[in-house]
């Protein structure tokens, strides 16, 4: 949270850093600015019409030029409306185009980053980089800069007009500009601080709601409704105090702005009045001056607000460019890309068939964000078709081996060999296309059942899909859904139960027909029938493939060709079930504990 609010100063508000993404639109942006200037020019001219009406029509008591006056007025008006529309439209379009490009760029870049990045940054954090930083930057390029162009040129034109019409009177008004700017900057800086504080309290209050609702069971059993409630009221009280304080500043701010406008007006009236009475100035001119004087403060306010917004946006630019500058620590070499293609443009014609032999040769490994070797000179040969079970406590680091096999991470030392060749000799996509992965928390994408099942094999026919579903005994699942394969699964598969999602994930993995299968068993309790179906599905899926199962179910473990026991990130025991039981070590303890639960549950269900 603190990082979100950190103040960052970049040269030129960080604009040079985003130039590469904006270059494409430079012609449009230049036109946008040019039109903005013309729009301001016309805006500053309009009071001159009033002046003419007063001085000529009323002063000289003749409507002789009314026709031309009207025509000219309408022409200028139409011209201005058209320009105004186009410049707004261009700004909007530029903002959106830049947004889109930045989002695409960041999203695509993320597809190439290694898991180290995803482990070190939460999904929420990365998501905000793609979805919100980009928006802020687009806003800067289009609207913020446009605001400066509009208001800056408008202010400039009024000042010039005033100087041209009556330099002496204009000088009095000009004196107000620096005073106003200083005052406004003072208020603005205070407001920025207070508004940041308000955002902080606001997120705290949202957190409170979250805690009150998700923790309601604990709150009720502990009977602490009053404690939680009064703490909540403290936060809302502070929110109220800070908000009112902020209003005191912003209200003074806006009062001062209008007040200064009136001071300018009074100056014009007092000084200009004398000039007019003496005949040195016409009434219409006086009126124009008054209009300018009164309208001068708003653009100054806008410009200052814009600058403070630009200061805030620097943080977004910094975070965005940091993401784009992050390089993947698992990258294919140039030679590999030349032969096998990259992530987005594979050269499948050069891909060899993968058999499924995996070997760890003298592998030492330390996570990029870790400070301790979790594997040291680890050696293990896994012939094609071997079934490896990995067991251990939650959080013990069971995924490490899997991460290395999948080349989500690369060994710090030593080699992982696939079919006898270093994994780095072939492209990531080649390897990944031959690996099936079933997660503990099944992950589906929103879309239809078919879309999801085809994820690993985009050209699978319905027949193949149905076969895969039958293999994991999930064909019954379709009958429950009203539109068969075309049924929507909802966001993240929310319309299905955990067990159903799990089965679909198995079917998806089978359909991809991978040579190597990685499987993270679910710990969540599901009903007995589904549990049985899943167990059968696992047995079917791993048959004939090299498989790595992060196992929680006893039967899976017992039948494994080799069991690896992990504790505190390290492999402390390895062997077959019977051998490990004899050792009476960590595996033995783990196994008996799970066994007790299983027995109670089995009897309950019997």
């Amino acid at each position: 949270m603190s990082e979100e609010n950190k103040n960052i100063r970049l040269p030129l508000f960080g604009i040079p850093k985003i130039l590469p993404y904006v270059k494409k639109y430079r012609v449009r942006i230049a036109m946008m600015f040019a039109m903005g200037v013309i729009v301001s020019l016309i805006d500053s001219i309009f009071p001159l019409f009033t002046r003419y009406a007063i001085d000529h029509f009323i002063g000289e008591k003749t409507m002789d030029t009314a026709g031309i006056f009207t025509l000219l007025f309408i022409c200028v008006l139409v011209f201005q409306a058209v320009l105004n529309y186009i410049s707004m439209y261009y700004s909007g379009m530029t903002e959106m185009d830049v947004d889109r490009d930045l989002r695409d760029a960041s999203f695509n870049h993320l597809q190439t980053l290694s898991f180290a990045y995803f482990n070190q940054n939460s999904v929420g954090y990365i998501h905000a980089r793609v979805m919100s930083d980009t928006g802020k930057i687009g806003e800067l390029v289009a609207w913020r800069l446009m605001d400066i162009v509009w208001n800056g040129s408008y202010l400039l034109f009024i000042l010039i007009n005033m100087l041209v019409i009556n330099a002496k009177l204009a000088v009095y008004i000009l004196l107000l500009v620096p005073a106003a700017s200083l005052l406004f900057s003072f208020f603005q800086s205070r407001l920025v601080v207070l508004n940041r504080r308000i955002r902080e309290i606001n997120s705290k209050i949202t957190g409170n709601f979250n805690e009150g609702i998700t923790g309601v069971r604990s709150i009720k059993t502990l009977v602490i409704e009053d404690v939680i409630g009064s703490d909540f009221r403290k936060d809302t009280e502070e929110m109220k105090r800070t908000s009112v304080k902020s209003t005191r500043y912003s209200a003074s701010f806006s009062s001062v702005i209008t007040m200064l406008g009136s001071v300018a007006l009074a100056l014009v009236l007092a000084k200009g009045g004398v000039l007019t009475r003496e005949g040195a100035m016409m009434i219409g001119t006086l009126s124009v001056f008054m209009t300018y004087a009164a309208n001068m403060m708003e653009p100054i306010q806008f410009i200052i607000e814009t600058f403070s917004a630009m200061i805030a946006i620097q943080a977004n630019i910094e975070r965005f460019t940091r993401l784009m500058d992050t390089q993947s620590d698992v990258a294919d070499s140039k030679e590999v890309i030349a032969k096998y293609g990259d992530t987005f443009e594979p050269k499948k014609e050069n891909w060899e068939k993968l058999e499924g032999d995996v070997e760890f040769r003298d592998v030492s490994f330390m996570y990029p964000d870790g400070n301790e070797m979790v594997l040291e000179n680890f050696n293990l040969k896994i012939p094609a078709g071997t079934n490896v079970a990995i067991v251990g406590e939650t959080g013990a680091g069971k995924s490490t081996l899997v991460n290395l096999v999948c080349r989500f991470f690369e060994p710090t030392k030593g080699q992982v060999l696939i079919d006898g060749r270093d994994a780095r000799e072939r492209s990531q996509l080649w390897l990944h296309s031959n690996i099936g992965y079933v997660l503990q928390t099944p992950h589906l994408f929103s879309g239809t059942v078919r879309d999801n099942l085809r994820y690993g094999k985009p050209d699978a026919s319905d027949e193949e899909i149905m076969n895969a579903l039958k293999l994991v005994s999930a064909e019954g699942l379709l009958e429950k859904m009203d539109r068969g394969l075309d049924s929507e699964v909802g966001e993240g598969g929310d319309l299905l139960s955990t067990g159903e999602k799990q089965l679909l994930c198995f079917a998806r993995a089978i359909l991809a027909d991978p040579r190597i299968l990685v499987l993270d068993e679910a710990t969540a309790s599901i009903d007995t029938l589904t549990e049985k179906a899943i167990q059968d599905a696992i047995d079917t899926v791993i048959k004939g493939r090299t498989s790595f199962v992060i196992a929680h179910r006893l039967s899976t473990v017992v039948d494994a060709d080799i069991i690896l026991v992990v504790e505190d990130g390290k492999i402390i025991e390895r062997g077959r079930h019977a051998d490990l039981m004899k050792k009476k070590g960590a595996y033995y303890n783990l196994y008996t504990r799970q066994y007790e639960e299983m027995i109670v549950n089995q009897y309950g269900m019997a």
Binding site: F232, T236, L269, G395
Partner: protein, 609 residues
């Protein structure tokens, strides 16, 4: 206390606004003052132009004229025009003060309102029965409590007060304009309904396009979200290219929807300007004509143009406020749903009996929904005061439900049996009294975003640190805490350190122990700690909680075997009941499970040999 129901949106709005009404009233008063004062300066300018610079008789309203006379009349003022300047500044100053006070009172009103809404909602939500929480989605409730509250605040504080102000301003300005020239006022006034109408129409359109854009943004956002959470699946299936195409497609579509919105907004602004300037042109031409034929003076012409310009913005705002009415209405409706849900209630005259008595379940049956399957079926047993009861059963056998019923998390409906504390029916006891006397440690406890020591002592009356330490020691958590850099002051929860499942469970045990309730329930709450720690905790408990009625739910027979009585649950029914020895003697389910668990370790022992 009988909680009132809100029949209409209005009644809820009035209820919420209760404490802030006077602030809003004050705000409106100063807003009116401000508008009135804003109308004075054009008068002064008109007077200056006509009577001081020109030589027409004063056309000032009586109150301003009196003021002008007091300053020496037109003669003196003509020589000292700076006095007029000072008058203008003074009026502006008063107006600025009013503007400040208007905004200040408005803000106090709005913030009081928001605080009131949030506090009321939060307190209410905490008092809603647990059953309500299980059927309503967290995300949805939070959204109602945050964005909908914000929406209502915006509407009341920014739009409704400005609505009043706008009305006053329009009425006054039109009156003055009418005073200058009825004909010219009509010519200008004709545009007002036009501007309001078109602004309303546009905002409706913009509003619905906004909804589309929002929706598309949601889709794009969830594609990104799904991609990031499923990054392993994407990589493992090598589908980066597909993901990229999917994202870019939606991104392009979303961008187009935005651009369409931009077109609408652009059209709105441009046509707004166009109408306003057409109005100005009309006023200029017609006004000049009127001045020419001597109907109005040059000063009043300037005055009129100024009033006319003052109306432009408020009139456009009006259309927007009207268009937003429906949005606020929806938000109030969404809050009304929460506010109209029934809070937990005790029967009238609910008592507070001693809990150091026998607890009796008498023919208790229960299902969560009317027609749903029975979770509990005719369950009866007694827990003698001060003894320990063990409950063994499979997942879904109803053991947790039993405990929820005992803790009054769900009320036991009529005709479903009863639960007795001594001679008092549980339903006749105050719910908070029940929960104060029954300490329950949940299988998945929730820790609050506070420090460890605050978490442990959160429900205790006496929060002395020594008691916190003691509780942590008995719960076998003290060692773990000593390993944290900040010890007992370690911040846990969402914004702090994440504890392991076992540590959370032990923290929850400490949280209960410090309260020393007469009844303690451990709902499978030692499941995440290893057998050794489990044994240590039980031994420590035995030393520390004499005279306490304890209910232990577990899978592990070794956890339960020393209980004074053991109940074996199966599919909502009691399968067996008795002491460990009795149950072993019976040779039923318990005995078989025990045998299997023992046998298992024996086989292993044999294998080992």
């Amino acid at each position: 206390m009988e909680k009132k129901k809100f029949e209409t949106k209005r009644s809820l709005l009035l209820y919420f606004i209760n404490g802030s009404k006077r602030w809003f009233a004050l705000a409106v008063v100063f807003a009116c003052f401000m508008s009135l004062l804003d109308l004075v300066n054009p008068k002064i300018i008109g007077y200056t132009v006509d009577s001081l610079i020109g030589d027409k008789p004063s056309a000032l309203p009586a109150y301003l004229n009196a003021f002008a006379e007091a300053m020496g009349g037109a003669g003196v003022l003509r020589e000292k025009l700076w006095l007029v300047g000072i008058a203008v500044v003074l009026v502006a100053l008063c107006s600025a003060v009013c503007r400040f006070l208007f905004r200040l009172f408005n803000s106090i009103g709005a913030e009081t309102l928001v605080k009131n809404m949030r506090d009321t909602l939060f307190t209410h939500i905490l008092k809603l029965p647990f059953a309500w929480h299980s059927v309503n989605h967290t995300g949805d409730i939070i959204q109602r409590c945050t964005s909908d509250v914000e929406q209502i605040k915006m509407f009341l504080s920014e739009q409704l007060t400005s609505l009043l102000r706008i009305f006053v301003l329009i009425a006054m300005a039109l009156t003055y304009m009418y005073g200058i020239s009825p004909k010219l006022m009509c010519a200008s006034g004709i545009f007002i309904p036009l501007i309001i109408g078109y602004s309303f129409w546009f905002h409706k359109k913009i509003g619905s396009q906004f909804a589309i854009v929002d929706n598309e943004e949601g889709k794009l956002s969830s594609i990104a979200q799904e991609n990031l959470t499923g990054v392993r699946v994407v990589r493992a299936f090598g589908r980066e290219k597909y993901e990229r195409e999917r994202f870019e497609k939606q991104n392009a579509y979303y961008t187009n929807m935005w651009i369409r919105l931009m077109q609408l907004m652009g059209a709105f602004w441009t046509s707004g300007e166009f109408i306003s300037y057409t109005q100005l042109l009309t006023v200029l031409l017609y006004g000049s004509h009127l001045a020419l034929i001597g109907d109005i003076t040059a000063g009043s012409f300037i005055e009129f143009v100024t009033y006319n310009a003052m109306l432009t913005w408020p009139v456009r705002m009006l259309g927007r406020v009207i268009a937003n009415l429906s949005k606020a209405g929806i938000s109030i409706e969404r809050l009304r749903y929460i506010m109209n849900s029934d809070e937990e209630q005790d029967v009238p005259g609910a008592s507070e009996p001693d809990f150091r008595q026998d607890i009796r379940f008498e023919n208790v049956s229960y299902s969560y929904t009317e027609e749903g399957a029975k979770i509990l079926d005719n369950v009866s047993f007694t827990v003698k005061a001060g003894t320990t009861l063990g409950i063994l059963g499979s997942t879904g056998s109803g053991k947790s439900t039993l405990m929820y019923l005992l803790d009054r998390m769900y009320p036991l409906p009529e005709g479903c049996g009863r639960i007795m504390i001594g001679d008092t029916d549980l339903k006749n006891i105050k719910a908070t009294w029940v929960r104060k006397n029954i300490g329950m440690v949940l299988q998945e406890p929730y820790l609050f975003s506070r420090t460890l020591s605050q978490n442990i002592s959160i429900a205790a009356e006496n929060k002395e640190i020594s008691r916190v330490h003691k509780a942590a020691e008995v719960a076998q958590l003290a060692d773990a805490i000593d390993h944290f850099r900040d010890g007992y002051e370690t911040f846990v929860g969402e914004r702090g350190v994440t504890l392991s499942g076992g540590q959370k469970q032990r923290a929850a045990i400490a949280q209960m122990l410090i309260r020393k309730p007469p009844v303690m329930i451990f709902d499978d709450s030692l499941s995440a700690v290893d057998a050794e720690t489990d044994a240590k905790i039980r031994a420590a408990l035995n030393r520390n909680v004499k005279d306490t009625t304890v209910i232990l739910i577990a899978h592990r027979i070794t956890t339960l075997m020393h209980a004074d009585m053991i109940v074996v649950m199966d599919k909502g029914r009691i399968a067996e009941m008795g002491t460990h020895e009795e149950l072993i003697g019976k040779g039923g389910m318990y005995a078989r499970i025990y045998e299997l668990q023992m046998q298992q370790s024996q086989i292993e022992t044999e294998e080992a040999i």
